[in-house]
């Protein structure tokens, strides 16, 4: 409701982020008070969801120990995994529900906070209609909670509008895979990667965003494999690449159409596979005809010889894999980018075999599982379409309502914020989402938040977005509720409840059930445990593409994970999809889908001549709500820096360490330059994990892919000017440290 209750400084002072450097009790405490148990569970940061053992004493996570038996990561961890335990006992942790008051937030009782929340939601729905309330969820939630959120929106609130922060992640890939294969999952287990003779890494900063995957790629190289990397930046894995294709931001599609052009021109396609297993080839062949290497080079800045070589390497190998991530997905043509890669795999027959295929490297912790069971605006559990009458009937039966009572598809994440901005949506209930940092065009997001008549947040820390809330319900960390996740490779894993939520914080699932009661829908949410939610999820997903029916917590433990689909208790799970040559489409064919070139939504011009691309660093996770509170991770990379090539830097008389103001068509921010030869000279890069004056997303724009509704984080236009000195935030920060 309008602006935060007190100044931002006051809120930051009270609720952080304060970096925690030392475990509870100090570094030496463990030798005097050793852990009383080690719990095998998973990391919460990123879609790889590495196995990890948390050290626990009493109700406190106090450290970690690698879990070397878990087959995916075999003890390996990135720095986020190593330090994740420092969330345990963190001083910023919300220990009570908070209500907004004239002097800031005040701790409230659960009854008061829940009654207030449900009452406001009812009032607004009665006044403006059911769809005036929207919900945001997050893909870092365990699947039980994702399922619960989807059901809560449709059954307890009866609103069409629920979407999740996975919309900002890999939905372009999901949409493309559904179009091509009829199912949204990486078709191969990661154990296939070392078996590939060629690995094409397309727009994926594997070293920083999926560090464990590096080990798989190195094993492929040790066996003689070739590595091709496509990225406007020379990311760390480029040092070991056989071929680097530093593509101009926003032109990936031209490159992949060009690769297919060369494949077809030189007769390298797999005719037998195309004829037997696919449809739509001729349209795709026609669509790439104009994309000869010379044309591609002009568009992408990648030399024609590199285009030729990449196409030949990829097509001529018996086993090639294309791994892709946000670099191709975060575009207003993100779906086309993914489709073009899939088309390349289909034309060369690299799919459904050991060591061959395409795979999306899903980004969020439970990015895969969190999108399968109903918190997407257009989906019901089991990856069912909300517009499919059969799916509605099945889900309605499991939920105990009529199919007509299930609302139709609603707005996607950015569209919800736009609807709030124009006054159509009046109230928002958000969990596990920090849109002020993660949505594009942050100033627009801020204006929208100020317009809400009611804003409820469920979170464990006070995120920057939560400053705008009327009520903040103190929820739970990943290790505080039992459940499942699904990793980037489609492996369903068991997340243990390691400790209870501290203080008066509560499990998120309890919060939703209590709200449902107060909204008069308690009978649909009778759960005492998350296991009961999971058992219902299994039924709800049964018969869908993402069929979890045969996966139980116990079966996961016995097998170190089970790959879906797994339709019966006897079924061993499905590590690799399409092995019988059939897709999940009713016709069983893989569908080639033709792609068409178009420009990005925020083109460079004389006034904004530089490409801006945004991304991540290894020490931070998403909007930083968690990782900006962990001291070692903060120190590793404290503030966003502007990566800029010396050639471009020289033009603006910018030296390494200088302050530079970056201006886009929406806003400007001032950051310190990091002059490096590892980025294209026409492009600058800023990581996005920070809020306010340091927020890269104040510069980005709201153009969406028309099908996936993903924003175009990977390409905006900007200009640069050297700043006279450090901005206010940097001066303050230095004073604070002094």
């Amino acid at each position: 409701m309008a602006e935060p209750p007190v100044s931002s400084e006051a809120l930051l002072e009270r609720f952080g982020p304060h970096p925690a450097y030392v475990p509870v009790g100090g570094w030496q405490d463990e030798s005097e008070h050793p852990a009383d148990r080690l719990v095998k569970t998973h990391c919460c940061f990123c879609g790889q969801q590495c196995g990890i053992q948390l050290k626990v004493r009493g109700n406190q996570v106090i450290g970690f120990e690698p879990w070397e038996e878990f087959p995916f990561n075999r003890g390996m961890l990135c720095p986020k995994g190593v330090k994740r335990y420092l969330q345990g006992g963190h001083p910023d942790r919300l220990l009570d529900p908070f209500l907004r008051g004239p002097n800031g937030f005040r701790a409230a009782t659960w009854d008061e906070a829940l009654n207030f929340t449900s009452q406001r939601l009812r009032e607004i729905q009665e006044k403006y209609g059911k769809d005036s309330v929207a919900m945001y969820g997050g893909a870092s939630l365990i699947s039980e909670k994702s399922y619960l959120l989807g059901k809560f929106a449709r059954v307890a609130l009866g609103t069409r509008h629920i979407d999740y922060n996975g919309r900002l992640c890999m939905v372009s890939a999901g949409t493309a895979y559904k179009l091509a294969f009829g199912v949204d999952r990486s078709p191969l287990p990661w154990s296939d990667v070392p078996k590939a003779q060629v690995v094409l890494v397309a727009g994926a900063n594997v070293a920083e965003c999926a560090p464990i995957t590096t080990d798989y790629i190195w094993r492929s190289k040790d066996a003689g494999g070739k590595l091709i990397v496509v990225d406007p930046r020379m990311t760390p894995i480029c040092r070991n690449a056989d071929l680097c294709l530093p593509v101009r931001p926003g032109t990936d599609l031209a490159l992949y159409m060009g690769l297919l052009h060369v494949v077809l021109r030189d007769g390298l396609e797999n005719r037998a596979f195309i004829e037997e297993c696919t449809t739509g080839f001729s349209e795709v062949a026609a669509s790439v005809r104009a994309w000869d290497p010379r044309t591609v080079a002009e568009k992408t800045g990648v030399p024609p010889e590199s285009v030729e070589r990449a196409a030949h390497l990829f097509a001529e190998a018996d086993r090639s894999i294309a791994l892709h991530a946000r670099g191709v997905e975060h575009h207003s043509k993100g779906v086309e980018n993914c489709l073009a890669l899939i088309n390349l795999c289909l034309a060369t027959g690299h799919i459904g075999r050991e060591g061959a295929g395409c795979a999306m490297i899903t980004g969020q912790g439970n990015g895969q599982g969190g999108r399968e069971h109903g918190q997407k605006c257009d989906q019901l559990p089991g990856q069912r379409s909300i517009s499919d009458p059969e799916a509605r009937a099945h889900t309605a039966k499991v939920w105990g309502i009529t199919p007509e009572e299930i609302p139709q598809a609603g707005y996607s994440a950015v569209e919800i914020m736009e609807a709030i901005h124009r006054g159509e949506i009046k109230a928002l209930l958000s969990c596990c989402f920090n849109p002020l940092v993660s949505l594009p065009d942050a100033d627009f997001t801020r204006q929208a938040l100020e317009k809400l008549e009611f804003f409820g947040v469920i979170d464990f820390f006070m995120s920057e977005t939560a400053h705008y809330a009327d009520v903040v319900l103190a929820g739970s960390l990943q290790e505080e509720e039992e459940g499942i996740g699904c990793t980037a490779e489609g492996r369903v894993i068991h997340i243990q409840k390691v400790v209870d939520p501290p203080g008066n914080a509560r499990g998120d699932s309890w919060i939703y059930c209590e709200l449902a009661k107060r909204l008069g829908k308690g009978r649909f949410f009778p759960y005492q445990t998350t296991r009961q939610i999971y058992d219902e999820l299994r039924e709800a997903s049964r018969g869908g593409h993402a069929d979890y029916y045969g996966i139980t917590y116990e079966k996961i433990d016995e097998n170190m994970g089970v790959f879906w689909p797994c339709p019966s208790l006897e079924h061993p799970g499905t590590p690799r999809l399409f092995e019988n040559g059939r897709s999940y489409h009713p016709d069983g064919k893989h569908h080639f889908v033709a792609t068409q070139w178009r420009e990005s939504g925020d083109p460079v011009s004389a006034d904004y001549p530089v490409y801006l691309t945004t991304g991540r660093v290894v020490s931070q996770y998403l909007s930083g709500t968690q990782t900006r509170r962990i001291g070692a991770l903060v120190n590793q990379y404290p503030n966003p820096r502007l990566e800029i090539h010396p050639r471009l830097a020289e033009q603006h008389r910018i030296a390494d360490g200088d302050w530079v103001t970056v201006t886009s068509r929406r806003a400007e921010i001032t950051l310190q330059a990091m002059v490096v030869r590892t980025i294209r000279p026409d492009t600058v890069f800023i990581p996005y994990h920070w809020p306010d004056e340091r927020s890269a997303n104040r510069l980005t724009h709201r153009t969406l892919d028309p099908r996936s509704k993903i924003p175009e984080f990977k390409v905006s236009a900007c200009n640069l000017r050297k700043a006279a000195g450090p901005p206010e935030w940097a001066t303050q920060q230095r004073k604070g440290k002094a």
């Binding site: 570094w27 450290g63 190593v82």
Partner: protein
Amino acid sequence: MNGYEFYVDPSRCIGCQSCLNACEECETHRGQSMINFDFIDRKGTTASAAFVCWHCEDPTCAMVCPADAIKKGEDGIVQSSLKPRCIGCSNCVLACPFGIPKIFPEREQMMKCDMCYDRTSIGKRPMCATVCPSQALSYVRPEQMAERREKPTNVFYFGKQRIVTKVRMMVPVSTDSVSLDVLDHIWEESHAVLPQA
């Protein structure tokens, strides 16, 4: 751990600093990381390197220690200085050709990587090599390293000083030792490179 050796491969380092962060979690020196980590030349490249102590056969640090505080165990591991003996003089810090030992002023003691004695002695791998996601630090059996495209060496030249280490460095197949002497890269033949007096 019997039969296991430590290998360092900077060409596989991705700069994530997992090792640096994990080292700090080891029980014997919790809160202090013993990993040496650097971006080599971030302006020009993403190349980075993470090093543990190389555990020399004939450790320079021990040779130069005036207090006889640095000991090598029978297992070949060069330990941190003995607390009662260490005088914090920094001789070892200055002398180690790899730049490994560090003085911790609050402890008045030199501490360095001891190859996670607390872990390896009970059958666990060192923390850094366990968590490293990119095979830059490995603690494995030699057979496993034979699958790599590089090969190990443990002979280093620093000028005239020849050092043989317990920890091995992965180098290109055509290389037998690692030399950090410019002379090895200069064409000299019969011409002296020193200015003639």
